[in-house]
Symmetry: C2
Amino acid sequence: MSTRLVIIGGSDAGISAGLRAKELDPECVVTIVVADRFPNYSICGLPFYLSGEVQDWHTLAHRTIEEITGAGIALVLGAVVQDVDAAGHRISIIDADGQGRSLHYDRLVIAMGATAVHPPLVGLDLPGVYRLRFMADAFAVHQHLEAHTPRSALIIGGGYIGMEMADALTRRGLAVTVAEHGASVLKTIDASFGSLVNAELVGHGVRVETGVRIERIDREGTQLCVVGSNAFQTTADLVLVAVGVEPRSDLAQAAGIEVGERGAIRVTRRMETNLPAIYAAGDCVETWHHLLGRPTYLPLGTTAHKQGRIAGENAVGGTREFAGTLGTQVVKVFDLVVARTGLRDDEAAQAGFDPFTVEVTTWDHKVYYPGAHEVRIRVTGDRETGHLLGAQMIGHVHAEVAKRIDVVATALFHNMRVEELNDLDLSYTPPVSSPWDPVQMSAQAWTRAQRQKNS
Amino acid sequence: MSTRLVIIGGSDAGISAGLRAKELDPECVVTIVVADRFPNYSICGLPFYLSGEVQDWHTLAHRTIEEITGAGIALVLGAVVQDVDAAGHRISIIDADGQGRSLHYDRLVIAMGATAVHPPLVGLDLPGVYRLRFMADAFAVHQHLEAHTPRSALIIGGGYIGMEMADALTRRGLAVTVAEHGASVLKTIDASFGSLVNAELVGHGVRVETGVRIERIDREGTQLCVVGSNAFQTTADLVLVAVGVEPRSDLAQAAGIEVGERGAIRVTRRMETNLPAIYAAGDCVETWHHLLGRPTYLPLGTTAHKQGRIAGENAVGGTREFAGTLGTQVVKVFDLVVARTGLRDDEAAQAGFDPFTVEVTTWDHKVYYPGAHEVRIRVTGDRETGHLLGAQMIGHVHAEVAKRIDVVATALFHNMRVEELNDLDLSYTPPVSSPWDPVQMSAQAWTRAQRQKNS
């Protein structure tokens, strides 16, 4: 008998699970239940659609519906899952045409993702106030931009989406204000780097207000009036609320599945839930952290792909384990690329390490060769063991920042000591690097500073 | 008593050794004997000086003389070393002013580098025929370009220098021909990639003749007539001979120091020669290969820096070992960047592995975002163990090819299996990558192809 695999969720984790299962076991019968009509869309691409850089939203699909079904996967689009009957090995759904039915499974993968957080503020449901998580959200914002040609926008939240949308809407000609409740934007990086991002925003005409917690939005005529802490007050034609995401685990919880960190589904490193035959993956689950050695909640597309692939492999008999996240992330804001991997100093200290952080500024390639750009690196290591703990990097979009953070991520994966980065045989030619790559220069600076500190 | 450290050679390895020794033991007395007046110059930068991209040759210095002496290092410039008296712990030199003297050392580092190979062909010493290794060579070519404004050039040799000089001289307006005796240019990469480089050259107006061994050069009036195998015949205003380098180990051999591969000085992984208190590093020594597990001759600036640093550390009491090369290399040819690390299929087979190579073509970032460039990757792994053996990559100069090869190099350093590349937590945002980085896509393609081959 071929395995009947049912997957709830048609984004990164769900599709990856389905494809991997079919790859390893072509006989298995895979059905993916998708809440909307846009399976396998790159939601990371939504800001670029709204900026106008992506002209045709169809291109945002990692794969077309035809490619997915062509791989032998059945898609049930526009369906709502009502419940999971773990004992009966079936789920109840309501089809796009309103008909209820149930699907029997041998193995189930829950990959329901996350939703945008609804912050506790008045006026969230007013026309002109949007969140950005699903294709429907993007269509709504796009429709507003086309129909009303707003001239100003307020973005609530200075995280990744907030930064990308500040870039996108500025590119579209809107006057953009970002309101962030923290002391600097991009709180995933250290404040000194956050202030560089801040400067990049300001340099492109974005108004940035930090230390502001938005309290209410009111409509006055065609405008939205927004009021926050510290006497913040502004008007805008459009408001985008981008204050983070939370896991969609209600359905799983109702079925008796345990949740942990931030309400995310608890899974083993094989992506098993506490219930037999039920796996979970992606933005709805806890993520094992390679350095912390414990689960955390870190919803990222890269991780969702990996976890989905593992869930799919194990659902058809595999025993693969998720190797763990390092929280590697990168974002482009105008001409800057900002990346991080591993732990920041404060995160490392909180986790019981003895961290020490050094910042270096250097060039992406030999400065004598035209087009050299500055790269700033903050490298964090453990004072006691000398082990690398993390790095943050910021530089021009052509400074190969993202792939340099990947070298650090690969080193972190192998628990290297900071000093050992100098042993890596990295590539060099004057137009792309230096004989010691910037990553290695930062390692040398760290070791020197640590020696001086200790002596 | 402070250690007297004498270093012969003022390029990458020699300067690195001196700086590292002073860093770890500020009391040590470091003297570096330099054959010319250009210590620590980036000879990798010479083609960019000759192309006109680097306007001022002074900027080619990794460090100025003032920076080096400011670090407490004594420089003896323009000096010829006559012999090494290993028993007496002294070297004899002839100063720039013709005076002979001897320098006593407690520790000696030989870092004399390599010279350009003189191939066995008639006419090598004619005016207008150049090699390119030292600053003096670059000045001579530059002088020729300025004084005679040549309109055509023949480059003998299709290696790194040949490629960079074809680019450089074309950029300067010369009609360039490259004559390569092998079947394709850049024989450090597989022929299929070599032909892409060939096409890039041809696309920029360079004439490429492969399978041609140059036999003689004659001067006829203001022109050079060049004749080679396969009825090759051409005239050129300038000829550049770039057929590789060989280690400068004569002086060391005369002192009783053993040599090995290609006549390069034999060293331990601590950069010790067979004689006590004498270390050697850089392009004049054998290089330990991480994957082959044996010494090889692979003269590269990155390796010279590493080995010099280790020699300097050990000369003042350290016990550090060179971790080994992977042969990681990158070159920019017009708008293409070509990189490799580890072993090619044929090299791996020769070394006793059971290699299998897969080529994939993908995009450097999500293709929906503007400016996506193709990246081609050839990944080689061992069929039996599944271990990664190497990769070659080719793509546009903005496709982050060099740092992607570095991710593979870091993985190789840790002896990862090809499939394990998928476990790496690499960075993603649509403008710089995909949820699975191209490196990981190539790993998945390799694993799939291997499974299909085995089934």
